[in-house]
Symmetry: C3
Subunit: 356 residues, 3 copies
């Protein structure tokens, strides 16, 4: 098969449209074929040892030896064509912006960022069983798509009001044990998805956060908060115990004595307090929150993808085993708690109060 | 044995005097027996699935089937009677407010809080051998009593001036090795009591704290300090090394570089500094210190007992083994230090200075 | 061999010139021999049990029994002589102030402090291969010399601009794999020298710090910074990943979410920010920086040597194994990164920009 000069020009143009960097080896090869096609065999003097870039290019050109200009042109066209078709087939696998449709979430993808937005604003984004499952599914998709960073945020005034207590109300009294066992399995699986998430995971905390929405922040890589956000974990009020690995991550982040005030004694932190104690990376005024945060996120999403993912994994790898152990223990304790009188009384009181 | 209507009324009144919640199962049973006794078999329509509370009550009543009103009354009276006698026998085991009498401590119990007060104000609550042993005994008692949280504080101007150096002076020069060995055993046992303490342990730091009184704060769950308090660990001045697990807890709480300034280079922290670095949970002005702290403590002591204890244990369980290992290593190093020239010179200098 | 009264007087004078404390046992022996030589056998009453110091002296004197005054004088002279010659031979082994001569460092020793100064001010103290090796050599020497604390600082305006990127430029394109492997071995060895350093190690950060000069600060015991200093780790910009154990020490010091902003997303910290987050112990105004820091260092260097070294080792011993594991993993990841297109592109871009 023969290629015309026109095909060669077209290949040059197609090359400029590639979205992904094809890598150094390929680029050197393209350079060499182009030179060979337009100027013939390498005829310049070898660059000095320290002239790294030009020496690499020279080596590549030289390596083509006496390949004819026509032959080089043909190989150039074929190489560009293979790059173009590889990219277009890849794009088809994970089309930008057309994520699965969820009932409780809105998931969008743009500028190398996948955003998972909790979307039950009428109940302050409380997490029901459906939402637990959909968040896990969305994290699995985001782990595989071509995003560089992944964002979790809430729709409306709240970031997330935590576990939907109707999850308890729907358990019939004669099936408390079964309900507790199922709940513990679901919770453990949910938290594991955050422990194992392979890319930088960023929380954009647009408003108040409660319960498990707070505890899992210790498993995020960056937490940006509006100054309207608050952080509240009223577990003991409900006869419960901490989850989301917070019994390990919170003492590590802020020391045991500050973590205990939150996790045992229900202290609600302002955004500024949460930042001073290291749970939140940075706080922004609410009226410029989205603008300032997204300016940063776009910069982050342009950084080398593998470098970021591997850096995150390095930071987490040393404690991943421990986090899984902590998660299992916390869920085991909660399974017992959910069957305890302390917890049942507290939940009953909650519903009785909320009926007034 | 037959019961009169009068017995039934008396049982109703006794029930109101119970101090401890008998638990949901018992309460549902009491409800059902009372309904059966006064209205006969269950004759109302079944509540809806989501009406959790009423459905539980209905189920309990329904489960009594055709039990006679007399039979229900009898069972009700017997059940109340068993609850009353169980509680009164329990109260006898751990009478509120009548703790063991100690020589160096004052221990009181009130409002679900056991308070252990160091009571050698004339020597700034320095810990002599007697006090080491009494603190251990008091912790063992508090672990078993019916308190929800346990408080350690100091009588007088000082919280605690640390190890009483007369513990060294009483060692004869020919028995230095024996003294060091005994000291290390005592210290290890003492610190283990804090590592293993099963309930929330709260330090109410009313004034300056020195040495081991500072280092063991890393093993407390909450540390509230007056703004008069200071935190000083002058170990190297005395040729000694850190204890109380501080070589592990302090770097974890404040980072190695701040911990080193305290533990190696004798930096004395103000209460505000200790709070900024996470060693102290909160600082209060001295003139409102007791009032503000006890208001919080009373709230805490009304939270569900098991939820708090289990939450604390979750937080500590992951590192308990490590803490015991650290404690053993620290005591081993101190045993060597106490026999070293560096340490002996420093202690001799201390006594010579204090004689001037 | 006989000794004159003159020899005895001379011994008394020589004793005063000893620089190191000979230890309690020797001092008591000297005391006893002196008393025996000048007053004869012990003839005073035994001091009370609690009079620790005098009782120890009395015991020592008494133990000489009926040794003649001449014999005591002779033993005294011999003992002093042995102390003097032991000290002078020791001084010869590690002469103060006359360290090995280095090409990239200036190493000095004074007042129990060894200072290692990075000395390539024209390239902002960038670390080339020569400097990596010399720092390791200087640390090995400092570990063995008689210094109590060891200081690392920079000559000129910069503390250290990190890894000299010319280390990459000198790798020929055909030897990238070999270069990456050698680099990883060098880096691992370098970081291990900090992990294992046995004495208090203090960074005096006189100006901006970049890359590995920042990450290894997590392995120092104290970090004092001028308010001119900044802390920057732009790894992902260069397609690289964190080293110096920072993937472990930074999250431990400041929490994951603040560490990630530095290590993944290139946030440059001011000295005040680095201090608030625990990476820096204390910040000083630049115009009084050297004066204030050295006043502290001199105080530190007068503290008991063994007490300090053992305290440091206690703090580090619990995590030494983990640090070695982290270091190995980080170097393994970097070896892969250095061979990646992401990294090569970034380095090529760096040199192309810097040629403009």
């Amino acid at each position: 098969m023969q290629f015309s000069q026109e095909d060669f020009e077209k290949a040059k143009d197609q090359l400029k449209l590639l979205k992904e960097d094809p890598g150094n080896e390929v680029k050197l090869n393209l350079y060499a074929l182009f030179k060979q096609a337009t100027e013939g065999p390498c005829n310049t003097t070898k660059p000095g040892m320290l002239d790294f870039v030009n020496k690499a290019k020279w080596d590549a050109w030289k390596s083509l030896g006496n390949l004819s200009q026509d032959g080089a042109r043909q190989k150039y066209i074929e190489l560009v064509s293979s790059l173009v078709s590889a990219e277009s087939s890849k794009v088809k696998e994970t089309p930008l912006g057309s994520k699965s449709v969820y009932e409780t979430l809105e998931v969008t993808a743009k500028d190398n960022i996948t955003q998972i937005m909790l979307n039950r604003p009428k109940v302050k984004n409380a997490i029901n069983v459906k939402m637990y499952n959909e968040i896990m599914e969305a994290l699995e998709e985001a782990a595989k798509d071509n995003s560089v960073v992944v964002v979790l945020t809430g729709n409306g005034d709240y970031y997330c009001s935590g576990n939907d207590l109707n999850n308890f109300a729907n358990v019939s009294p004669t099936a408390v044990q079964e309900g507790a066992e199922k709940g513990a399995v679901l919770l453990k699986d949910f938290v594991n998805h955050f422990i194992d998430f392979p890319k930088p995971l960023i929380a954009v905390v647009n408003g108040p956060a409660v319960g498990i929405a707070v505890t899992i922040l210790g498993l995020f890589d960056i937490v940006y908060a509006s100054d309207r956000a608050t952080f509240h974990t009223p577990f003991s009020n409900l006869g419960q115990t901490p989850e989301g690995c917070s019994s390990y991550t919170f003492p590590k982040i802020m020391g045991v004595s500050k973590a205990t005030e939150m996790l045992l004694f229900n202290k609600k932190l302002t955004a500024a307090e949460a930042c001073a104690q290291g749970l939140v990376t940075n706080v922004f005024p609410d009226n410029t929150f989205q603008k300032e945060v997204w300016a940063r996120l776009k910069t982050y999403a342009n950084l080398p993808r593998n470098s970021l993912a591997i850096s995150k994994q390095l930071i987490r790898s040393m404690e991943k085993e421990k986090l899984h152990e902590v998660n299992a223990q916390e869920c085991e304790r909660l399974k017992e708690r959910w069957q305890s009188d302390e917890c049942m009384n507290a939940v009953i009181n909650f519903f009785q109060r909320s009926k007034l």
